[in-house]
Point group: C2
C-alpha cells in the first residue's frame, strides 16, 4: 500500500470534473488546494529507541532479516488509515513510529518474539494490513522503553481445511483476496468483504470484530469465527473447535474484538460456505428514508434480507446521482417518470443477492415485500454501479484530500425503533459542530447492515479542511458524533472498532464495571501491559458518566 | 414441581406394559423395584445455619414473608433435577439444603438481598425453575457461614416490549409458558423451547446458555439475548441494547453461560419473531446413522435446515418403535414395504417445520435434499408422535426410576467431520463402563441441533440401578463419557451447562489460561466468592492435562 494513502501506486480514482465543480460550490473549497504528500524522504521521524539486547533477542526469535529498523519499514507501520492518519502522513509529520518492525514467519517465531518483548519491556502493536481507521495500530509505548510493530503478513498460510465441516484455519496475516483464492480452488468462500478487503487480514478482521458488505446474510466475523488461538504474554489460549457449546462464558467472544490488547491472534478457524455463482444487484427507490428503513425492517424480520442492503438517505442519494455520471444519466431519465409518483426526492437503496439457484426465489420474495412497502424498482443499473465501485471509497477519500476536503466516516448501530432519531441526531450534531467552525459539511448516510432487531448507520462527512487546524476540526466532529451516538442509545462502533478514537465512549458502552472486567482480563493475559498500549481499554479507574 | 421429581403432582406418564416387559428383559431389572420417594416429612435435612443478623438484613431487603426457612421451602430448593438429584431426593437423604429461601420481588429488593448476603458472608445460589441437570443449583456454602437459594420466580414480569425492533425485556424469573403467553397477545413468540420449557425461566436459560428444540432455526439463547442486566456483588452491569457492536470484546457473552457465578441476571432483552401458525412434522428413514447425518449436513449447509431435526441412531430408533405403540404399529406396517429398500434396520429422523406461509416451500426444498441423500419419507405420523411428547422425557425418567432403572442423558457437539467418531466413542465408553459394573446399558443417541459446521449429539443411557451404589454407578458412567467427549475433540456440554458435574473437564474445554480468565472475571465481580460457590469455575491453580 502507498505510504501516504490507500491502495497501490498504480491505482487511483481521480474525481470527475462534475464532482469537483459540485464540491467546490457546495463546500467552498479550492480545487487542487490539498496538501500534497511529502516525499517519503522528507518525512520527519522520531529516532528509533530499540536497545541492543532487545534487538538481539528479537533477531534470535525471527531472524535478522525480519527485524527492520529502516525508515521505509518504520513509516509503513507508523499509522493506520483513518483521516487523522492521512493528515499526518501527507504533512510528513510523524510524532510516533515503531522502533522496529518485527515479522515472525510462524507461530513458534511469534511466541519467541512476544517472549523477547516481555524480557526487554518492549511494547507490541500487532499489525496486519494496517488499515485501522480508529487509531488501532498507532505505535504507542505505554510505560515501555520501545515499541515494535509485529507485522503478521508473513504468517499467511491456510493451515487446515475441513471440507465436511466447511471450516478453514488460517494464519492471521493472510489478506482478503488470498483467502478467497485459497478457498475458490475448493469451490468455497468465506464471503467476508469489508471495505478494506483488498488490504486487510484475517487476524485484523477477528481482532476488530469487523463486518463485511454481505454480513447481513453471511454474518459478521464474530459469527464466522469458530475458534481462535491466541498468543498472550502470559501464555497461549485456544478455544475449542466446535460449532456451539454451553460450557460457560464464550471466551472466543472475549478475543474477537480484543484489538491486540490481550494478545496476538495466531490462528482462526472460520466458517465457510460453498462459492456462490449468481450475483444480482438492483436499485429501489423510496419516497423517504423512513419508508426505506421500514421496508428494510420488513425484509429483515421476514427472514428475507438480501445479502447487500444499502439504503442511502436523501443527501447521499442526491450526491451519488450527481457524482456517478452513468447512473446519473439513467436516473435522470427515470426520474421524469418517477416524479408523478412522489419519488423525485427519494432515497435509493441497493439490494443485492449473491448465491446459488435460490437467488431468483429470494429476489422474488424480497421484491414482493419491497413493493408492499411502497418501494419502486429501478432495475439493475444502480446496483451494478455500486458493485463495480464496492471497494473504491478509500481511494476517493485520497482524491478528496487532494482538493483540500476533510472526509471522515462514522458508523453505529441501534434498534429499529431508535434508528430514525439516531439518523437525525448524528446528522444534526455534525452540521452543528462544523458550521460552528465555519466549514459547513455535507452529511451523507446509509443503512448498511440489517438485523432482525435493528440496523447499522454509516455516515460520511465532507467539509472544507480547516487549514492548519485539520486535527482540531476532525476532533470536534468526532466528539460531536460520539456524544450524539451515546445519547441516542446506540453503539459507538458497529464495525470499525475502538482503537484510540472511540475510547472516550467505552464507559458509556460497557459501564465502569465492564471496563474493570476488561482490565482484569488484560491483567491476567498481559500483566506488564505490553500489548497495544493505549487502545480499547481505558486505563485506571473508570470515569462514571464520562 | 413435585419435590422428588418432574412435573406437577397431577401429571404422570407411567410406562406401558410392553415397555416394562422390554426393559425388564433387556436390562434385567425387576418391575416395581425402584426406591419409592420418601414422604417429604421423612426427608433428613441438615440444620439451618442462617444467623440472626443475616436474617434481619434479608428480611429488610425482601420482606419477612419472602425469607423462608421452613422444611418445605428448603427441600424444594435443595437440588436440581439431574439423575443424582433424583436418587438423593427419592432416598430422602439431603446432605445439603439452603439455609433459607430468599425471594426478591423486584430489582431493588434483589440488589438489597445481594448486599445483605455480602455483609453477612452468606453464599447465594440463584434459583429459577431449579431444573439444572448438572448440579448447577446445589446449595454449597464455599467458605461462607450459610447459603441461601435466591428464588427469582417472583420477578416474572415483562418489563418492556419493542414491537418495531421485535425485542422484549423480561425479569429473570418468568417461566416458559408465561413468556409465550405474554408474547402471544402481541402476535409474537420467542420460540425457545428447551425440554424443561414448562418449568424453567428466562434467567436460567441465559445463565446456562441453553438451547431449545427449534434452536436450529431460531438460534440458541446466546443468539436470542440482545442484552443483559446483571447484579453482581461488586455492582451492576448492563450491556448495550443494540443488535450488534464492534466496541471491543462482547461482554454479553461473558454473562451468558455464567451460571450464577458472576452475578444474578436481573433482566434480559430477548429477540422475538412473529408467531408462527403452521407446524408440520414428518418422519424420514435412513439406512444408517451415517447416511442420516450426511443428509442433515446437506440441509444445514444448503441453508435448508428445518426447525426441528432429530435423527435417532439405530438403537434409539428400535427402542422408540418398541415403546411408542401408535408409531410402532404404523411403522411395522410400513416396514414390510421398506424391507426391500434396505431400510429395515434404518434410523428415523423427525424433521419439523414451524412458521408462516413459507413452510411449504421450505418443506419442499428440504424434502428434495433429503431424497437426494437417500432418505425415505415416512409421512407425518412419526413427527406428530414426537411433537405430542416433546416435553415428556423428564416424566418418563421418573417412571423408569420407579422400576429401578438408572437413566441419564449426555449431550455434546462437534464438527461434522468428527461426529461419527464421537458417536461411536461415547457409546462404547458407556457400554464399557457399565458392563464392567455388571449393568450393561441401553445406549441411545440422536442428533438434535444442526449447524453449518457441525451438530450436537444427545445420548440417553438406561441401565439397571446398582442398588446401594447408585451414585458410584452414575459417576463411573459420567467419567467415561466426559473423557470420551474430550478425547474426541468435542465440547463437554452443548446445552446443559457445566454446574458441578462438568467442572472436571473445564480445563480441557478452555485451557489453564482460560480458567484463569474466568477466575479473574469472578474476582472482579464477586471478590468474596459469594455467588454460586463450587460451580462452573474450578478454584485454585488450573491442572494442566487434568
Amino acid at each position: 500500500m502507498r505510504w501516504w494513502g490507500w491502495g497501490e501506486d498504480s491505482e487511483s480514482f481521480p474525481l470527475s470534473e462534475a464532482a469537483l465543480a459540485l464540491l467546490s460550490t457546495e463546500l467552498d473549497l479550492t480545487v487542487g488546494s490539498g496538501r500534497c504528500p511529502a516525499t517519503i524522504a522528507d518525512v520527519a521521524l522520531p529516532e528509533g529507541s530499540l536497545g541492543g539486547a532487545a534487538r538481539e533477542s528479537l533477531t534470535a526469535a525471527v531472524g535478522a532479516r525480519h527485524v527492520r529498523e529502516d525508515r521505509d519499514a518504520r513509516i509503513h507501520h507508523a499509522a493506520g488509515r483513518g483521516y487523522p492518519d492521512l493528515v499526518r502522513l501527507r504533512a510528513g509529520r510523524l510524532d510516533r513510529a515503531p522502533d522496529a518492525v518485527v515479522s515472525p514467519g510462524d507461530g513458534v517465531a511469534l511466541r519467541a518474539a512476544l517472549d523477547a518483548c516481555g524480557r526487554h519491556s518492549v511494547a507490541v502493536v500487532p499489525f496486519g494490513g494496517g488499515t485501522s481507521v480508529v487509531g488501532g495500530v498507532e505505535p504507542m509505548k505505554g510505560v515501555h522503553s520501545a515499541v515494535v510493530a509485529l507485522d503478521l503478513t508473513r504468517m499467511d498460510r491456510l493451515l487446515e481445511l475441513d471440507g465436511d465441516s466447511l471450516t478453514a484455519t488460517f494464519e492471521p496475516g493472510i489478506m482478503g483476496p488470498a483467502v478467497e483464492r485459497e478457498l475458490a480452488g475448493h469451490g468455497l468462500t468465506l464471503g467476508h468483504l469489508p471495505q478494506s478487503f483488498e488490504f486487510s487480514t484475517v487476524g485484523g478482521w477477528v481482532a476488530t470484530r469487523s463486518a463485511g458488505q454481505i454480513s447481513t446474510s453471511v454474518g459478521r466475523i464474530d459469527d464466522l469465527v469458530q475458534s481462535v488461538r491466541v498468543e498472550a504474554p502470559a501464555g497461549s489460549v485456544r478455544t475449542l473447535d466446535v460449532p456451539a457449546s454451553a460450557a460457560g462464558p464464550d471466551l472466543r467472544q472475549l478475543f474477537v474484538g480484543s484489538e491486540g490488547t490481550l494478545g496476538v491472534i495466531s490462528a482462526a478457524t472460520l466458517r465457510l460456505r460453498r462459492a456462490s455463482h449468481r450475483h444480482h444487484y438492483e436499485g429501489w427507490s423510496f419516497r423517504s428514508f423512513e419508508e426505506g428503513t421500514d421496508a428494510l425492517r420488513a425484509l429483515a424480520q421476514a427472514d428475507a434480507a438480501p445479502d447487500v442492503a444499502r439504503l442511502s438517505d436523501r443527501a447521499e442519494t442526491e450526491l451519488s446521482l450527481a457524482l456517478a455520471p452513468a447512473v446519473g444519466r439513467s436516473m435522470r431519465l427515470g426520474r421524469a417518470c418517477l416524479h408523478g409518483r412522489g419519488h423525485d426526492r427519494g432515497c435509493v437503496a441497493v439490494i443485492g443477492f449473491e448465491g446459488g439457484d435460490e437467488v431468483s426465489r429470494r429476489r422474488g420474495h424480497a421484491g414482493e415485500l419491497l413493493r408492499n412497502a411502497r418501494g419502486l424498482a429501478l432495475g439493475q443499473r444502480p446496483g451494478a454501479a455500486w458493485a463495480q465501485g464496492r471497494f473504491r471509497a478509500p481511494y476517493l477519500r485520497d482524491a478528496l484530500l487532494d482538493h483540500g476536503a476533510m472526509v471522515e466516516t462514522f458508523e453505529t448501530a441501534t434498534s429499529w425503533s431508535r434508528l430514525g432519531a439516531l439518523h437525525e441526531a448524528v446528522s444534526a450534531a455534525l452540521r452543528e459542530a462544523l458550521e460552528a467552525r465555519g466549514t459547513p459539511p455535507l452529511v451523507l448516510c446509509h443503512v448498511s447492515h440489517l438485523y432482525r432487531s435493528g440496523a447499522s448507520l454509516y455516515f460520511t462527512c465532507i467539509a472544507r479542511q480547516e487549514r492548519g487546524a485539520e486535527l482540531d476540526q476532525w476532533a470536534a466532529s468526532k466528539r460531536a458524533v460520539g456524544d450524539a451516538i451515546v445519547a441516542a442509545g446506540a453503539t459507538i462502533s458497529h464495525h470499525h472498532g475502538v482503537g484510540r478514537d472511540h475510547m472516550p465512549w467505552m464507559d458509556a458502552e460497557v459501564g465502569g464495571l465492564g471496563i474493570e472486567l476488561l482490565q482484569a482480563a488484560k491483567q491476567q493475559l498481559d500483566p506488564h501491559g505490553l500489548m497495544n498500549p493505549g487502545k480499547l481499554i481505558p486505563a485506571g479507574p473508570s470515569m462514571p458518566g464520562r
